[in-house]
Point group: D2
Chain length 145, copies 4
């Protein structure tokens, strides 16, 4: 099994069980180990009191891209934290694309950057996530659902 195949199997396994990302209509593509593209359309239920997309949903899209990027190595990895810069509002109907790339990875810790853009290619947010690998194989994990 190639590294890319392994990354995609990890992603498939996670995605099947990821109600949050699926319910939001997020589509995930593994382009390389540590590299992921996630897409989401902004719907009315995501709008905040100012009629723009709640920052929480932009973060969620980026966080999903990050989670799939850092779980490419069959080693269950969780988010220790993240930061986000909001560059431009997103509105209803916008199609957002988050591209995650690995910046650094050691045995236990990784740093992943995610750029979120809209359908015009304009930057919406910059996200940086900090991952912590648990050492538990993802492939042996039992789901409780």
């Amino acid at each position: 099994m190639s590294e890319l195949e392994r990354a995609r199997r990890c992603a498939d396994r996670m995605y099947d069980n990821d109600r949050a990302s699926r319910d939001l209509g997020i589509r995930v593509t593994v382009t390389a180990p540590g590299s992921v593209t996630a897409e989401m359309t902004v719907v009315k239920a995501m709008l905040n009191g100012f009629d723009v997309c709640h920052g929480g949903y932009i973060f969620t899209l980026a966080d999903t891209a990050f989670a799939f990027a850092c779980n490419a190595y069959d080693d269950l990895t969780v988010a220790a934290g993240a930061s986000i810069e909001f560059l431009r509002p997103a509105v209803e109907g916008d199609q957002l694309t988050a591209v995650a790339s690995e910046q650094s990875r050691s045995r236990r810790n990784g740093i992943y950057d995610v750029q979120v853009r809209n359908q015009h290619g304009k930057p919406v947010a910059l996200f940086r996530g900090r991952a912590h690998a648990t050492g538990e194989p993802l492939s042996e994990r039992k789901s409780d659902t």
Copy 2:
């Protein structure tokens, strides 16, 4: 009108129009100008591929508390960015409480800290938000919906 009354009117105005926070069942209480408590119950639709609450929803709860805290002054204020530390997972049925407090506020910029705890009082996340005030009165704003 007292400062607290003004803060609560701003919050009511925002909340009426905030589909995202309302659809997630987030309840918002303004305790003082710049201080807000927001509560949310973790439901199945918020779980990620590891059967714990997607970090995006924990962020969203904190971000809502932050947004209502920084919009207490009838001056439309947006999030420029934020960082979050994830301290402990949240699971289905957990009742999360986010408490936002103002750390710093100048004419245009503010820093707000949010602590998220579960129903046992255990810390789930620490959030720090950076707010930018636009100078546009919130009370004169027309909603487009």
Copy 3:
């Protein structure tokens, strides 16, 4: 030995060997395990191209307070990362005080907040540090100098 005594012994041991903090004239006081005050006077050599204190020196003061705060438990602890918000410039002659307090601490990870104020009590910076404990006793460590 009380917890406070232990914290102070750890700090004394670190400080003796901390050329960086000593050369900058930083004075460190352990007020409780996980709580530290560090003070520094802004001198001409710390000014940047705009005649205000280089942000790097404000960060350094906060980082020193953080380092001594998280090393209170005889468990060698290093900084994994940090963020800082610059609220107000500091100028030559300003006397800065950094107060570090523990926000969260598990076996391996800790979060520490540091507030930096000037001699008028005005906020200069907010800092949040992420600590990683190595598990190596500080008291048994050999210095190589």
Copy 4:
């Protein structure tokens, strides 16, 4: 005057007056508007209590690269904040290189990423700075020294 010439004139003007960066032996090279390389050798006076380079000096190097990168447009720009991830310690004698690149820039705000590496090309730190442009021309600024 080309954009690169303007960026270099802004840098020269800043550097002449930047005692902090000069005293630390930091060398600054503007490679393009918004892109800067800064180099520094770790000396004994930069070591902390654990005999490695104090994180404050690694931050300072990155912050200098950031400051020169964001001041390329003859518009006096200050740091609003920054975050840093420490990836690997630096020791006495290490030659560190910080490469700053512009990630986003609007009229008033910019985001700059800085990678710090050692003489072996190994990553030492990742830094992300948030810049705020004041609108004051840098070229008309009087220095008070």
